[in-house]
């Protein structure tokens, strides 16, 4: 076993150990065992950092891959298939290494942060236990080498988010939110599961590597449409987990969980799992599936951005911005900007975690006030938070010199390239929605920064509302008794903010602030070659090229450790080489569109910031009046496009209605038939019984009657007196003699 594999097994199991220790023993440990959680996660991060160092820095090879597996289930010699085993295993490549480092770092920081934020909570120890199982599940997704394992951890992530969202389970809204999150994820999961089933049914294996090998060899026995369907169905898993339209509704509600949880799973890692998964299966997505993915991503990015503009809750704005940014990543994958999407996944994880932890610090300092309308002026009271929050905001808005700028522009460049490659028309909608969303992102983040940190404090303006979050959170508020002054948070909450903000700056990823493509990241994560045979744009000559790559794909089966990316290891300065002509075309056009994308998006971002300034800083336009002027649009945005209401009226009401109907059907029709048969049988039995009683029984009764009456007569002879009996004996004897002698005589 490779030493990296051993390390990664330790990385995987350590958080589980933390969970097991804390769930059972947290009450018996000092400080409820939080040091165990933080310590173990620190160690996990240390190991992951070592793996990252070895893989990324030492090897610096885009095709690096180590794999290991073991037999999990042995089906024996299956008729029609031959020996069949289900394997579980671990694969480490560049993507895994980067994800490992990212997940463990953010998880570690969130653990550290939570020692401050969750202090004094009734279930303080349990919180760290849940964080442990979440980290375990997420690492499982990252390390898994097959679809079955990823599905297992996928659902376990769902479970962890269920537990964490409902951490304040005594609140009905939290209990609703956790259920909603789990169910929305499950809907996505069944799609993903069907996608897995399509692939398994053809190849009898769950391993990515083997599936890709079989696909590349053209062994897919079903039609091309099924393969497209498999891609789209697998993508459904991502739609659920990464909160894409139409299953995005759970994510904003998931903000019912404690804020560190929002940072960890609903911004940085869990939602990223969807994007990560699509990246893993990227090579088997057919062009048709990619269209669907790109349009879903673009629409999600746009829709969520429009909603974020009007929200008042600081966490909801961030939640919708998360949905919007996830839309970008999905869009990126859909248009074939594979590296850019993953780049954005990583940069977004850091700056969004920073934003959420920052908002958590604000909420903590404001004594669980989440409404931005009653904040303001925090710049002076919370300088550390202000600076880090601003850096992360710049990255989210996509301003130059930030990490978000590089990754977002790479995606948008890819989108332009995609639209050009597809020949324009409707496909320009994808980059168009992307740019519009960039504008809106800049606008709502500018609004947020201004409302929260600038101006004067508006705490006193708040009407005394009954549904005050303060009351709901009273039980876990350690500062309950203190006066309402706003202070900077303690070091254990500040340190994570600083680290995350530092990771939102361009130099970490690329020396050139305008071009992420020149950095190590884009070099290490390169678009793998598709394994799908036919492509729409392939011309006869190019078919041969594709065929060659298929042969190569078959070849790497023999040599484990050589990734699918092996054959694309060589890069030239201007981008990548692609075996697939469609990808190659998009790649070249994207590269050409790079400067164009930077320009448009910079203009958009600038426009957004100017708008925010116009509305909220200079007050040239009153936002309230504008809202009134375009009231229908405002309401649409404010009420989140009414998706919750629509789902409630259709899916939920419908399901419950069907449930009641079927239950009624069961109790009255099905059981009614049974009881009806029973009644009929009884009726028949009754008729039969009547015959029995009057005819058959009559005979019996007559006999009894006869015996009875004759007996009543006879019993009178029984006087009970001995002498009567003697007389009778004598008489009888006498009678016999008379008879005897008469016989003698005649």
């Amino acid at each position: 076993m490779h030493s990296l594999i051993q390390l990664s097994i330790a990385v995987l199991l350590l958080p589980l150990l933390s969970f097991v220790i804390l769930i059972f023993f947290n009450r018996r440990l000092p400080r409820r065992g939080d040091f165990i959680g933080v310590g173990i996660l620190g160690a996990t991060f240390g190991l992951s950092a070592y793996i990252f160092w070895t893989v990324i820095v030492q090897h610096y090879d885009p095709a690096f891959r180590v794999a290991w597996d073991f037999t999990w289930i042995d089906f024996g010699n299956v008729p029609g298939v031959g020996p069949l085993v289900i394997k579980m295993g671990i694969v480490i490549d560049n993507l895994t290494a980067i994800m490992l480092a990212m997940v463990t770092l953010i998880s570690f920081l969130v653990h550290l942060y939570s020692t401050g934020y969750m202090k004094g909570d009734k279930h303080y120890g349990r919180f760290f236990a849940y964080l442990g199982i979440f980290t375990f599940s997420m690492l499982g997704i990252v390390l898994a080498d097959n679809l079955f394992a990823i599905y297992i951890f996928w659902e376990l992530v769902g479970l962890s988010s269920y537990l964490l969202i409902g951490f304040f389970f005594e609140k009905e809204s939290a209990a609703d939110a956790q259920k909603k999150a789990f169910l929305a994820n499950r809907v996505g999961d069944i799609g993903m599961w069907l996608g897995i089933l399509i692939l398994y049914s053809q190849f009898h294996t769950f391993s990515y590597h083997e599936i890709f090998g079989h696909l590349a060899a053209g062994e897919f026995g079903m039609s091309h449409a099924w393969l497209t369907a498999a891609g789209i169905l697998l993508f459904m898993g991502c739609v659920g987990k990464s909160a894409q339209f139409p299953l995005h509704v759970w994510l904003p509600d998931a903000m019912e969980g404690p804020t560190p949880v929002s940072a960890l799973i609903h911004a940085a890692t869990m939602v990223a799992a969807g994007v990560y998964f699509v990246a893993r299966i990227f090579v088997l997505l057919t062009p048709e599936a990619l269209y669907v993915i790109s349009f879903v991503g673009a629409f999600t990015a746009f829709m969520a951005a429009t909603i974020a503009i009007t929200q008042h809750d600081i966490k909801r704005v961030l939640a919708y911005s998360t949905v919007s940014q996830l839309g970008y990543m999905v869009l990126g994958l859909g248009v074939g900007a594979y590296s850019a999407a993953i780049f954005h996944l990583v940069t977004h994880a850091f700056f969004k975690a920073c934003l959420f932890l920052g908002s958590g610090a604000i909420i903590h300092a404001m004594h669980h006030e989440q409404d931005m309308r009653w904040m303001g002026g925090l710049r002076k009271n919370m300088p550390w938070t202000f600076v880090t929050f601003s850096v992360a905001t710049l990255a989210l808005a996509g301003l130059p010199l930030s990490s978000g700028f590089m990754s977002k522009d790479a995606i948008l460049a890819g989108a332009i390239g995609f639209a050009q490659a597809e020949g324009g028309g409707i496909y320009y909608l994808v980059p168009f929605l992307g740019f519009i969303s960039a504008l809106m992102t800049a606008f709502y983040m500018g609004r947020q920064i201004w409302l929260v940190f600038f101006g004067e404090s508006r705490t006193h303006l708040k009407p005394a509302a009954p549904d005050d979050h303060h009351a709901a959170h009273a039980h876990d508020d350690g500062h309950e008794g203190e006066h309402h002054a706003v202070h900077e948070v303690a070091w254990n909450m500040r340190l994570p903010l600083v680290i995350l903000a530092a990771l939102s700056i361009f130099v970490v990823y690329s020396p050139d602030p305008l071009d992420g493509g020149k950095g190590w990241f884009m070099h290490m994560i390169q678009t793998p070659a598709t394994v799908v045979g036919e492509t729409v744009h392939a011309e006869p000559a190019l078919h041969m090229e594709a065929g060659e790559s298929l042969a190569a794909g078959e070849g790497h089966e023999v040599v484990p450790g050589h990734g699918a990316a092996q054959m694309h290891a060589e890069t030239h300065t201007e981008g990548h080489t692609f075996a697939d002509p469609r990808q190659a075309e998009i790649g070249h056009l994207s590269h050409a569109a790079h400067n164009q994308a930077i320009m448009i998006s910079s203009i958009m971002v600038a426009l957004g910031i100017v708008l925010a300034l116009v509305f909220y800083v200079f007050r040239l336009i009153d936002p309230d009046k504008t809202a009134k002027a375009i009231r229908p649009l405002y309401l649409l945005s404010f009420n989140k496009w009414y998706w919750d209401e629509i789902y409630n009226a259709t899916v939920i009401k419908g399901s419950l209605g069907i449930a009641r109907l079927l239950s009624w059907f069961d109790a009255n029709i099905v059981d009614g038939v049974v009881n009806g048969v029973a009644t009929l049988t009884r009726k028949f039995a009754f008729a039969n019984g009547s015959f029995d009683r009057y005819a058959v029984d009559g005979m019996v009764n007559f006999t009894a009657f006869f015996v009875n009456t004759s007996g009543a007569f006879m019993k009178k002879l029984q006087t009970g007196k001995v002498q009567t009996y003697v007389v009778m004996v004598i008489l009888a004897l006498f009678g016999y003699f008379v008879y005897y002698f008469t016989q003698l005589v005649y």
Partner: protein, 105 residues
């Protein structure tokens, strides 16, 4: 005359018949249980006389054997019957057989 001087079998049988009739009469008519019991004894002894008479005139000892058994049995029977009568008296405060009819119905 010879019939009158020598006692033949007819005499025995006549005596026995008279005894039997007396006994039967006692059993059938007397109300006192002890008298009924005495009647039974008479009947038994009538039978004994018959046995001995036939035995004497026919030769062989079977009749004697039977009458010995009957005497023994009569003794046992008398003992049991008296015990029953005492118990009946204890329960009914009477030895009147006509009043002891609780077996009826």
């Amino acid at each position: 005359m010879e019939q009158l001087t020598t006692i033949g079998i007819n005499h025995y049988l006549t005596i026995s018949a008279i005894l039997f009739a007396l006994g039967l009469y006692a059993v059938m008519t007397r109300k006192n249980a002890i008298v009924v019991l005495m009647g039974v004894e008479l009947i038994l002894n009538a039978a004994n006389i018959n046995f001995l008479a036939f035995s004497h005139y026919n030769g062989g000892m079977e009749g004697v054997m039977f009458s010995l058994f009957v005497i023994v049995l009569a003794a046992a029977e008398a003992a049991v019957a008296l015990a029953i009568i005492i118990n009946i008296y204890k329960i009914f405060k009477s030895v009147d057989v006509s009043s002891i009819d609780s077996m009826k119905e």
